[in-house]
Symmetry: C2
Subunit: 492 residues, 2 copies
């Protein structure tokens, strides 16, 4: 079975990498920077997808699918977007391999099969989508256009880490078109809200909604909304972004509509996305030195039942009782797995389910049958209790809710205890060094200061919180006057 994980205190980064692999979530592949998402990890992602997809549809969006490739001439049309992604994109230049005349049994690119125009593997789909929207939008009656796509994208990152930063990743990208600026901004805010709700209600991760500074904005956006979460090691993680794109893409691709008043106008746009990076946030928010801890709302199996037996007769008797429990749990929409494999001992099963973060384990042995009890083990608190079989299902149902809430509250406590207001740069550096977390400080609003602070401390402005109150002060670095505090942190 699996080996013991490095502890978080010893080496947080190593703990993370080991956990991802040992818990069967993902692993590195033969392709530089690309991961394989293993079945157990993918099952969690599927649960996330299902909830998000439901939320997108409830807010009026439809799914569609656009090409993987972006012809270079379209890619370069929106200048800032192109500039932002050109340095890290995979480029298809040929459409055929042939036998290598110099190396028998090997293939090489066929020099006669060079594409006239190179194709960029999408790092994001604004270019190909806005080129398409040009044909779809003529009149105000075609607006708003509210579309989402589930897709893979590629960004040739130099330093990659499983889930957090990979060359290929899975995500969803919403792309919407609106008649007015006001509607587009409302959409960008709505979807940032959807992300925040999803993070808090399903992932049990408290997030701060805010706006990015100019230098942290999406390439091609006028404004980037984000949700920012705090990991257990005091580093922030951007968990989702929603962009107000102004008329930048509409102008680059000449997408106009005839208004009710008969005028030709460029449309207003948003885009928004979350990715498999959320898996990293989920892992780093709740897990412990024993492995993954999953919130019930996203666990592929919310409950696992392990039989403790010596003889086949004992197993039969246990199985009969377990079948009743399973039926009752499923009738309450609680997912349950009966781990009756005869190739592993109970101890190995306990270890595996602990490592894989199953929220609740039920162990049931022959003595339990006699006593009319079972043993419950909560993954989040690592506590056990023996409870009567009578009323078990109600008990489990209640626990699902309580565990979900407990995980959120624990993460919220940690996060709230790691937002520190500072009023001097000395204090800024000291808190960052000794405590980590978010630092709430005044900033003079210039990119120059932001860059300087980053250079000195490695902390960046994670966001200007939407709920932040106005409060006059002076920039922690330059002493210039400032209207409000922003949140700094070191970040993933």
């Amino acid at each position: 079975m699996s080996k013991k994980l490095t502890s978080r205190a010893e080496n947080y980064s190593k703990w993370y990498n080991e956990l991802v692999v040992e818990a069967d979530l993902a692993e590195n592949s033969a392709v530089r920077g690309c991961m394989v998402i293993k079945p157990y990890g993918f099952a969690i992602w599927e649960k996330m997808q299902a909830e998000l997809d439901r939320m997108f549809k409830e807010t009026g969006h439809q799914n569609a699918y656009f090409p993987l490739f972006v012809p270079k001439s379209l890619f370069e049309a929106e200048e800032k977007n192109a500039e932002g992604f050109a340095k890290e994109c995979a480029v298809v230049t040929h459409y055929r391999l042939q036998n290598d005349p110099d190396k028998p049994g090997k293939l090489r690119v066929d020099p006669n099969a060079k594409l006239e125009e190179e194709l960029v593997v999408r790092p994001t789909s604004e270019a190909i989508i806005w080129n398409t929207y040009k044909g779809w939008i003529q009149s105000y009656r075609d607006l708003p256009l509210l579309i989402n796509q589930w897709a893979n994208v590629v960004r040739w990152e130099m330093r990659t880490r499983l889930f957090l930063r990979t060359a290929e990743f899975l995500w969803q990208e919403g792309h919407t078109a609106h008649a007015t600026k006001k509607e587009a901004i409302a959409e960008a805010e709505l979807m940032n809200n959807v992300y925040a709700t999803f993070a808090e209600k399903f992932m049990a991760i408290p997030v701060i909604q805010g706006l990015k500074t100019e230098s942290e904005r999406f390439a091609g956006a006028d404004e980037t909304y984000c949700i920012e979460a705090l990991m257990q090691d005091g580093k922030a993680l951007q968990a989702g972004t929603s962009h107000f794109l102004g008329q930048n893409f509409a102008k680059a691709f000449d997408v106009k509509f005839t208004s009710k008043e008969g005028k030709q106008e460029h449309v207003w746009a948003t885009s928004w996305g979350v990715s498999t990076r959320l898996m990293g946030a989920l892992i780093m928010t709740h897990s412990d030195d024993k492995g993954l801890v999953l919130p019930p709302n996203l666990a592929p199996n919310q409950v696992v039942i392990v039989p403790i037996y010596k003889t086949d007769e004992q197993l039969d008797a246990i199985t009969e009782v377990v079948n009743g429990i399973i039926k009752d749990l499923r009738s309450k929409n609680i997912s349950v797995k009966f781990d009756n494999r005869d190739t592993y001992r109970p101890g190995a099963k306990f270890a595996q389910h602990e490592l894989q973060g199953v929220p609740l384990r039920i162990a049931i042995g022959s003595r339990d049958l006699e006593n009319g009890t079972v043993e419950l083990a909560r993954r989040d608190t690592l506590t056990k209790e023996v409870v009567p079989l009578d009323g078990l299902v109600d008990k489990v149902e209640g626990l699902m809710t309580r565990i979900q809430e407990a995980l959120f509250n624990k993460a919220l406590d940690y996060r709230d205890n790691h937002i520190t207001e500072v009023d001097s740069f000395e204090e800024f550096k000291k808190v960052l060094e000794e405590k980590g977390g978010f630092i709430s400080a005044h900033w003079d609003g210039t990119t120059e200061t932001e860059d300087k602070i980053k250079e000195i401390t490695k902390a960046t402005i994670r966001c200007m919180p939407l709920e932040g109150k106005l409060e006059k002060g002076v920039c922690v670095y330059t002493g210039a006057t400032s209207e409000r505090r922003v949140l700094f942190a070191k970040a993933y």
Copy 2:
């Protein structure tokens, strides 16, 4: 609104292309051979995905995700597979663009960012997956390994058609590993059966299960099972394939396991897939000159309700009744859309829903309110009837089943009337020319004869039916003895 479609009799191919675009299913993109799947088309694909995914999980499979790219050295490892796909694969050679020094504002491939090893955009994932399985399989306890992936793949086809043959397409690919040859063959057969069940029960498309001849087999397979359907123009369409891969990939990637007896053995493999090509099959099986006809089991909206009104008061009164109908229909799991757009007239709405194949339309006007009736219009038969509001929901529920069955039976009649046994090559050519469909004929079993017949007639052997009875005869082309008939047809 939409223009009238070319009729099938006039030009079937043109009818198909127009229908796909006019019914808002898909369109060509700026990328050669790649399509955009529009929201309405994608909603149908999502329904297919949901059913298939459920069927895969019910048969014990789990989803996972593997990289988009296959390093050339892995791609070429299984020789036949490589040979089969090398001629049509997109190849990534660079990982960066830079400003073009000769053309201000334009980008070019950065010559300093050439990959050491080229990456093939997956045309199918056996190579990258089997390279991964090597790390996952050590013991008989790791088997069977039953995994499916939903993904995009790229094959650089020269002649493309929306859904039927596109450079990029969406599909699922199952990849399984087994301890014995027998188990692997059983898996390949099981999944071909799943595809047949899906085609018949959900798509309402009758299919023939069979085996491919050597020349039509998947590159790298020992045996390819398939489901073959017949389109309205008498051409066959391969709707799904399931491959028994023998130990070919296990040997190419050295994937061995320790058996219960402690021996090291290569594992046995299958792979199986269906793709967005199914959309083409769905369209061409049921649709008519008025547009798409959808089976209720796959229609995004099974019922559409169109109000007929002049005044707002009338609309209010109708809406009240409609809300009750909607509630009742949804309680029976019937999906329904109330098309109360005030930007289109009823006639335009009727035309749109007819074009988009909504199985049942309910029209309700002020006179209907007085009479306690509604008008039902069936898309498949283009028949209308006025029915009482009382009992409407039961009526609709019954119609959903009847429409589904009627579509299947109509397609089955057509298909069965287009399987012609022939015993001479003259007859073969005459039937193919005048009637089309499947031709059941004796074949001598050689690739040479198969190729000759294809050269002369353009017909290929679609499959050797699994249920075909043994029947001695002589090859329709060479006169050599033959044990059984096979099915020939021109095919998509």
